[in-house]
């Protein structure tokens, strides 16, 4: 029971970070209908921005802010520079999807050009280990979870209570209808991408300081679990993504106690496949029925 509790403890940390990443991914999908394979790069750029900030100031908030801003700007540029123009040019969805893969490569390699491929150390002192009930956490873990949950709560509140959030939900359900009801879909989409990018940048920063190192491909490697969380939550459902990511994080960390840590991605992949095969609308779908092809 002890080990399971430890696993749950770690799972909550992982799940928190994953939840951030998944919700950003889901928001972008919700308004644009295209899974963004360059999403990992938003985490990477956020992390590098945070890292660069340490040249001038060492403060969690400053670094986090820099990370979020960088992520937001890059995401906004992705949308304005590629996604929207391509959609306007009537490029097929699957082609734009491949395009996001190309953007991912371009962004990774730009970082490679500037920073080189070597691992960059990016450390935030973990602080002392504490026993919080059955869980074992460092001060840093606590900071990370607190920040992550706060951000997720803010996203949730934004979606439910603000006008922007309502417009976002309207656009994600039916863009034409939203437009007809007076919503400036274009603004909403751009704003959403910026917001999702900011969340992603922050998630990248948090992930980097937890892991301790940074490379140009570090965000992309996180894509597998991010996408699994987003798909399991139901592509396009932000609340689902947050919940699913938490479950995923728990599953992976608890699982890692029973099998070799190398198998963690297998757990994620296994969950992804099961969800896609049996509940393709996500774990929290309202109805499981769908027309047979």
């Amino acid at each position: 029971m002890q080990t399971v509790a430890l696993g749950v403890g770690f799972g909550l940390v992982t799940g928190a970070i994953l939840g951030l990443a998944a919700v950003g991914f889901t928001l972008q999908y919700a308004v644009s209908d295209i899974p963004n394979l360059a999403y990992g790069e938003l985490l990477t750029y956020g992390a590098y921005a945070g890292y660069l900030t340490t040249r001038w100031v060492h403060s969690f908030s400053a670094e986090a802010l820099a990370a979020a801003t960088a992520g937001g700007l890059v995401a906004w540029a992705m949308n304005a520079g590629m996604i929207e123009p391509f959609v306007r040019a009537r490029v097929r969805t699957i082609a734009i999807f491949i395009g996001t893969l190309a953007v991912s490569q371009i962004l990774q390699n730009l970082l490679l050009l500037v920073f080189g491929g070597a691992n960059v150390a990016y450390v935030l002192p973990p602080g002392a280990l504490h026993h919080v009930g059955p869980f074992l956490w460092t001060v840093r873990d606590g900071q990370v979870m607190a920040a992550a949950f706060v951000v997720m709560l803010l996203v949730f509140l934004m979606l439910q209570c603000t006008r922007f959030g309502k417009s976002l939900r309207a656009v994600s359900e039916n863009r034409a209808l939203a437009r007809a009801s007076g919503v400036d879909a274009h603004r909403v989409v751009q704003g959403t991408w910026f917001l999702a990018g900011a969340v992603a940048g922050f998630a990248g920063f948090v992930l980097a300081v937890t892991a301790g190192t940074l490379t140009p491909s570090f965000g992309f490697r996180f894509l597998l679990v991010t996408v699994t969380g987003a798909v399991a939550g139901g592509l396009g459902k932000p609340h689902g993504a947050m919940a699913a990511a938490l479950i995923l994080g728990l599953a992976m960390e608890v699982g890692a106690f029973y099998v070799d840590a190398a198998y963690k991605p297998l757990i994620a992949f296994g969950i992804l496949v099961l969800v896609l095969l049996f509940r393709p609308d996500g774990l929290f779908a309202s109805s499981v029925g769908r027309a047979v092809e």
């Binding site: 491949i98 395009g99 190309a102 490569q105 371009i106 730009l110 994620a268 095969l277 092809e293």
Partner: protein
């Protein structure tokens, strides 16, 4: 200089075989498989662990046999077909387009992480080395001559693959596969087992990746999990996009233009920074930009897809025009 040309020509041949495999899956069957490079890598690894014997510790890996190249290559191809069958059985049944792509991408990312972390399999991050030169135990060619032999060998295999694929493309199988790609429901309405056809194409394409992998192992001698998907998979797709989807000739053209020419061209760029990744990174950026251009302007590639043109055999008093074109059998 001529050694260098032989070497890049060999690369071209090997990647042509691999790209032709991807063309079966994407160009003919219409499935966006992002796991493809994983099959190539598996082919490389399996060829190596059946050829390099036992390397000194601390290297760890499975098998460690010392088989002659043809046997090693066959085992490599068989393993890849097995792997692809597992992925295909799961992913092709009900998933299409973006979901299929995501699943295959996840599969290959997971595979890469697993191979890197689980050292007992293929020696983890450090990878394997020491692949013997095929047939050279018996031929005993000198290091100056061997590259040309190997080039001829690869070119010969490419030739064989090409002939087989051209025949298949024009055959009822190729036609049925294209129909499935264009409209699955209509294909099913006319009695085609959509899943069966896609699965066959998937296994065939992967087998070619395995074959290419075995050749790549022999050509490079060493291999590790760095620089795996999706960079490399994207390169292959660009080759197909640029050369001409569906058409085997176009694919080969695309490979030589994109993978060979471009990669080599960036080698000659002035080194602007001390960054050793500069040429490779620039090449990848150019390839990424190429993909964006191709999809934005819907470029169908330099060579069009193969179609059969129906010619009417001359009949007495026909009154039907006889059209010029190639009758495809």
């Amino acid at each position: 200089m001529i050694q260098y040309l032989a070497s890049i020509a060999t690369q071209g041949c090997i990647f042509s075989i691999v790209a032709l495999g991807l063309n079966v899956i994407w160009g003919w069957a219409g499935d966006l498989d992002l796991a493809f490079y994983g099959y190539l890598a598996t082919g490389v690894y399996m060829a190596m662990v059946t050829s390099i014997g036992r390397l000194p510790p601390p290297t760890e890996y499975i098998l460690g046999w010392h088989l002659p190249f043809p046997a090693a290559a066959l085992i490599a191809i068989g393993s890849v077909i097995l792997l692809a069958s597992c992925v295909g059985a799961v992913a092709l049944r009900r998933l299409r387009a973006v979901y299929f792509a995501i699943t295959t991408l996840s599969a290959v990312l997971m595979l890469q992480t697993f191979v890197s972390d689980y050292t007992p399999l293929f020696n983890g991050y450090n990878g394997l080395y020491g692949m013997p030169q095929p047939f050279n135990d018996t031929l005993r060619l000198s290091p100056e001559v061997y590259p040309f032999f190997f080039l001829a060998f690869c070119a010969g295999i490419l030739g064989g693959v090409f002939v087989v694929l051209e025949r298949l493309s024009a055959s009822p199988f190729g036609r049925a596969l294209r129909a499935v790609r264009e409209d699955e429901q209509a294909a099913a309405a006319f009695g085609r087992n959509v899943y069966g056809l896609k699965f066959t194409a998937y296994a065939l394409g992967a087998a070619l990746a395995g074959l290419g992998g075995a050749l790549l192992a022999a050509s490079q001698g060493a291999f590790n999990p760095a620089g795996w998907p999706p960079d490399e998979t994207l390169d292959l797709y660009v080759a197909i996009f640029v050369g001409g989807m569906g058409n085997p000739r176009g694919v080969i053209l695309g490979v030589f233009l994109v993978i060979v020419l471009l990669q080599e061209a960036v080698r000659f760029l002035p080194i602007v920074t001390a960054n050793p990744s500069f040429p490779a990174a620039t090449g990848e950026i150019l390839i990424g930009l190429m993909v964006l251009v191709v999809i934005r302007y819907r470029i169908n590639g330099l060579l069009p897809d193969l179609h059969s043109t129906d010619t009417v055999p001359p009949r007495r008093g026909a009154g039907l025009r006889v059209e010029r074109g190639e009758a495809v059998g």
